[in-house]
Symmetry: C2
Subunit: 170 residues, 2 copies
């Protein structure tokens, strides 16, 4: 994602207006490595600009995504996350705390895919699910993976959305 000043110029050049809300969000997202959700960015933004609306945060984030300045990532935790890192990279997702980290994968471009017959690949997304350093040995993994086949129905061990990811901003 470009720097706030460049984004300002780009927006104006495109006939879009640069509001204080947008400027704040430009700054909060620039080089932000926390992969925030709209909500978590909203809560940080609210701290800096009390009246800002969640609607505006969503709007601006999707605008930036449409412009290719932000990457929208879906790690399956419910809410979309936004990543200003436009490099060719992928993500590590901690199954315990929900933390997301960028990761660079060598050779992901030439993954050997069988039976592609006719399908043309545009982008490849890789998600590594596991445990981050701080969660290793501390927590237990929420059951995304297979479980022993006993009493499931009523006493369902919930899977998705079990761990509410801790959100932090730089």
């Amino acid at each position: 994602m470009k720097a706030p000043a460049e984004l300002t110029a780009m927006f104006r050049a495109s006939g879009l207006k640069v509001t204080p809300q947008r400027q704040l969000l430009f700054r909060l997202m620039h080089e932000n490595k926390s992969h925030p959700t709209a909500e978590s960015l909203f809560s940080v933004a609210s701290h800096h600009m009390p009246g800002i609306s969640l609607r505006t945060v969503y709007q601006t984030l999707t605008d930036l995504s449409s412009m290719g300045e932000l990457r929208l990532i879906d790690v399956g935790s419910g809410a979309a996350r936004f990543d200003p890192n436009l490099d060719d990279h992928h993500h590590l997702v901690c199954q315990s705390c929900g933390d997301v980290r960028d990761v660079y994968v060598s050779g992901s471009g030439q993954l050997d895919v069988n039976e592609l017959d006719g399908f043309s690949v545009d982008t490849t997304t890789i998600l590594f699910h596991g445990l981050c350093t701080s969660c290793r040995g501390t927590h237990k993994v929420s059951s995304t993976v297979a479980e022993p086949l006993v009493g499931i129905s009523k006493s369902n061990t919930s899977s998705k959305n079990t761990t509410n990811p801790k959100e932090r901003m730089s």
Copy 2:
């Protein structure tokens, strides 16, 4: 995913009851390659068993997932999809029609990941986004990818959920 008869035995052995609803769903999911959502499976199931509830479909699908008989996949299209294929495989997702196909990737286990420092990987998910054979040349790709930086805000070209995936069952 095991065959209906085996699932029936498994369920009973675990003290779970095998209802007509469950049997129907076992049959509909067995060797189903369409990666249905709960909704789409529900609509097919409704055809066979008019009174069945969407709640029951969700329940049974999550139960089967918890037992490791079904894999829950999230291609970012909004609704979760269910895959009875338990082989080590990944997915091709058509950005035009939303179709999902299984794909076998060689060497995905030894992807060269840099800067893993401390993160332990449990499972790796790979999504190939592109165009399926029937959509190549026919449709245009919905803007998941970068767009030229012009008039975005109000005239937003919606991205997610633009294409209601066609659902079909075997």
